[in-house]
Amino acid sequence: MSPATAFRKLFRFHGGLHLPEYKDLSTAVSVEAAPVPKRLIVPTQQHIGVAAKPMVAVGDYVFKGQKIARAPNLISAPVHAPSSGTVVEIGEHPVPHPSGLNAQCIIIETDGKDVWIEQRRQTRDCRDIPPDELRELIRISGIVGLGGAGFPSYIKLSPASSRVVETLILNGAECEPYITCDDMLMRTRPEEIVQGIHIMLHALHARECVIAIEDNKPEAIDAMRAAVKEYGNEHISVLAIPTLYPGGGEKQLIKVVTGKEVPYNKLPLDVRVVCHNVATAAAVYRAISRGEPLISRYITITGDVGQPRNLEVRIGTPIRELLEYCAVPVHDLSAIIMGGPMMGFSLSNLDVPAIKTTNCLLALRTAPRPQPQTYPCIRCSACADVCPINLLPQQLYWYAHSRNFDKIQDFSLFDCIECGCCDYVCPSQIPLVQYFRFAKTEIWAQDEEKKKAEIARQRHEFRLQRQEREKAERAERHKQKAAALQDEQPTAEDTARKAAIQAALERAKAKQATAESTPDADNP
């Protein structure tokens, strides 16, 4: 153990819960690679940011690891083919999302050969590569935060020039019940994680790295300590933190490890800390050292299944096939939850694929909340006691219920991490988090509408101005033309013509005059 850990003082975040863990269910069997399915369904949006743009066409043959969709801007991530085969469809397909809606997917019919794309870049030592190039390699490898949020990782590896990163915290807390994919990764591939840390430290110019693991995972802690001893150095340390949900939340973990609180509307970088998931570190190592983009990940399949376990799954594998592989009696189940029991969401369609941020599939025979009987809020404040952010959930609930979206933001709605602690303890069984999610999406939609209205107003005003200007210009043109006609000097030809016209007019007049005078003579 390095001296850094021996004397490190730990801190506590507000609230939190001790939950039944159910983690040993899925750690009994070793990790195995799930078979590559016949059809891979690869969504173009598997991350926070803008969806990737497909760069293959139907009928194209793709190799394993070939880029099939590119990132259109900086806050996005490219997508790679998880296996070799033929692109058979690019279109809307159900994706894992609480809405159950469809989104763009690239569907690949695999050929079973699993042939890697050539020209994979392999590097022995990351220290030979400048940090900028490392970040670019991580970006083009499509690596996103594998802890659940799916934020493009290279952005979190770019330190602002003004700030020095003191601590890189590697998040191995895995605080939610049932989930063990990070635990198993730390047990089976600790050396990849440590090598990934070297790369991350190099990219960040960070001083030290703390691998934080909840103390309910002694095997993972031992494995990581052994790997750090062998591959690490004195700047990398393993830290066992007390098991308390949601200790794996980014801001909670930073508080526990460093004692620093990330201020409202700020980033961890503002307190000189950067937080990455252990699986992200392993993915970074594979991308840099072996040239492998992110095409597979560990997923826990647990709950009421024959053999709960962890599988290494290709991105795009349909959930149904994973469940069948684990002999899950799909018909007996009342809910399949993607993610954990606290923060996951129920899947309405089993044809959705596993994506980069899928960490767990939880099969439940009885629904977690069978049509809850809701009672009125009694203001017991149990929710405020457990809130890890120190919010007032009962107050947020009142404002969400009455759709008072201004007031709810005064109570820091957007600091809520939707951990579900308040839901769990509420004696009235009020689905608090759903109220908060409702309010958040409603506010986002309103903001979006306001922005649109503002643009429409500007365009309308511009149009009115333009019409006004065009009218003025037209009037000006007419005036100029009239003036030009007047100013025009008559040429000799014109004068002759005018004179001819004038003579003709006078002749006509004279004729008329004589015609008029004749009847006058008749009528005295």
């Binding site: 994706v95 809701t374 509408e449 107003r457 309308h460």
Partner: protein
């Protein structure tokens, strides 16, 4: 006596000057109430309220010429917001003006378009691209769904299409309200 009158007169002139200066210097251009009302309107510029655009309607509300329930695209939410702003009682949408419906955008069936530019002239936000005898198309991002382009089209090639929620615009539903046990 005279001193008192002089002092009062001097003070009156002094304050008069301050007020006069303030009136010129701190003059507010336009009517701020109109701006506030305009900010609450959806800027569809559809004219369903009977005024040629959102700003004229805002001016009419501020001038007391029009009621606050004449905006179908804004619907009940806009009526509520206007009622809050103006301290009036909210009322239901005027059915003569139309009904509240989900957001739509116009779509031009391009194989039918003859390139007459009538819709371009009707669009209040310049969201239609095209030229005489050239095919026209809607800039979907800028379309407010006002339907003003539908009627002028001589070949009926413009259709209003409802905007379906996507994964990004989807909203969490209001939690179901089971019968609350009250005893």
């Amino acid at each position: 006596m005279l001193t008192a009158i002089l002092i009062i007169a001097a003070l009156a002139v002094f304050f008069g000057l301050i007020l006069g200066f303030g009136a010129i210097r701190l003059k507010v251009e336009g009517d701020p109430v109109v701006d506030q009302i305009d900010a609450l309107l959806p800027q569809t510029q559809c004219g369903q309220c009977g005024f040629p655009g959102c700003r004229p309607y805002a001016e009419a509300i501020a001038g007391g010429e029009a009621d606050i329930n004449r905006c179908p695209p804004g619907g009940q939410a806009t009526i509520q917001a206007l009622a809050d702003l103006l301290g009036r009682d909210p009322k239901p949408l005027d059915p003569e003006r139309g009904t509240e419906k989900p957001r739509e955008v116009a779509y031009i069936h391009e194989h039918l378009c003859i390139g007459c530019t009538l819709c371009i002239q009707a669009c209040p936000v310049d969201a239609i691209l095209g030229a005489a005898k050239q095919m026209h198309t809607i800039i979907e991002k800028e379309c407010t769904g006002c339907e003003l382009c539908v009627a002028p089209c001589p070949v009926n090639c413009i259709e209003m299409i409802e905007v379906k929620p996507t994964v990004k615009t989807w909203k969490w539903p209001f939690p179901p309200q089971p019968e609350q046990v009250t005893e």
